[in-house]
């Protein structure tokens, strides 16, 4: 991130892991993140699965259609992983950095050779409530702003993407405009002057100019980002730990 590059990676790592485990891949093997619908055709024998579809053995010409119906993103994994090039330590596409691109009709992908790992698939449900930790700038807001954030339902807006999840709901009061750009983190809830919160996603800018009222708990990020536009998210506040001793 010191070069301005966000960590990237899956929007919902739990669903990526579920798809990979079904084909005995390591949890972080390269797979295809689908927002919408995609149909892939096999040009050889291969075993594929998604976070929702049990493993299936495809032969030449067989097709599989994957749709992100249940969650914001679905994941299509193939045994052996996708053989995408490693750039700056990762095989993941990062559009904001010009690394890779969206798949287009007619693209061909190669299988990799990641080792076989057998681990049980864990159930995944986006919990009703996403836990947050008070952010470094929560004192820049009116004192009841955290209460507003954690007591009101917010709706995911269609403009949400891998950079940030934009939310509609009660405006967070008392935001002061600020031009100083500060370091950010995936899961940070940044609040622009209009008071509408944005949860920064895996392709977030490494620095940002709006105050951070709270940060989504590390283990709840995937469950937060799994929500599709139109779905509701509620936040609950965890106590602020003392990380520095």
């Amino acid at each position: 991130m010191h070069e301005g590059l966000a960590p990237g990676g899956a929007l919902v790592p739990e669903l990526l892991a579920a798809a990979n485990r079904r084909v005995q891949n390591p949890d972080d093997a390269a797979a295809i993140e689908v927002m919408g619908t995609v149909t892939m055709r096999a040009d050889g024998a291969m075993r594929v699965a998604t976070d929702a579809i049990e493993p299936r053995d495809l032969r030449v010409g067989d097709e599989i259609t994957v749709a992100s119906e249940r969650h914001r993103a679905a994941y299509l994994a193939v045994r052996g992983g996708i053989d995408a090039p490693v750039v700056l330590g990762s095989r993941s596409t990062q559009l904001s950095a010009g690394i890779g691109r969206l798949l287009r009709s007619g693209d061909r992908l190669s299988m990799g050779e990641v080792p076989i790992v057998s681990r049980p698939v864990e159930a995944f449900e986006p919990v009703d409530v996403v836990r947050v930790i008070p952010g470094p700038d929560h004192t820049a807001f009116a004192t009841h702003a955290l209460v507003v954030l954690t007591s009101s339902p917010y709706v995911v807006l269609p403009s949400s993407d891998r950079v940030g999840m934009r939310l509609e709901g009660p405006a967070l009061p008392g935001v002061t405009r600020r031009d100083v750009t500060r370091p950010m983190v995936c899961g940070a809830i940044e609040v622009p002057p209009d008071g509408r919160p944005i949860v920064l996603g895996p392709e977030h800018p490494t620095t940002g100019g709006y105050p951070v009222i709270a940060v989504v708990a590390h283990d709840d990020r995937g469950r937060c980002f799994a929500r599709a536009p139109g779905q509701v998210v509620r936040f609950a506040c965890l106590p602020l730990a003392a990380p520095v001793r």
Binding site: M1, H2, I133, V180, R182, P183, T207, A241
Partner: protein
Amino acid sequence: MTEWRALGARAVRFSRPPGTSPRALLDRIRTWPGVVDVVIAREDVAVYFDDAPRISQGAIDVLANLRDDDGPVRTVELPARYDGPDLPAVADAAGLTIDEVVRVHAAARYEVETMGFAPGFAYLVGLDPRLCLPRLSTPRTRVPAGSIALAGGYTGVYPFDSPGGWHVIGRVEGVRLFDEHGALLRLGDRVRFVRCP
């Protein structure tokens, strides 16, 4: 004592110690246990850990007394063509002619103070005070990759096509600010703009 704040459960943010080179900060902080990344912004430093942060207040406080490393400082020359759409407005606001703006901008020696905004985007300090202008009141929805721009006392080069609120005065030629090897410019680098013939 430097005040720190939690940036989530796996990162901390604290004030950037004045007078310490960003390179020395980065090198020292990376030796802390469990550190996976560091972001140094204008006023703040954020340190990202692989789990709950394991550092002491003393480790943060000692950063204020770091001696600069004596290693060689890299100077990067960027070939520049000054033909940006905001040159006339910048000249007006600065009370200079267009040619003077170009000469003043190309004569200065810059330093990378912060990386951020976009992959490979370097906030360069060292701008002539006459060129210190506020951001555009209405940001552009698209600024082309390679654009040389200035605002808020900084100058910089857009690595990618992106929205932008800075005054565009030119473009670099023949260099990419970010590619598969990472960022061209690094914290602490010195930067010169060399006018293309």
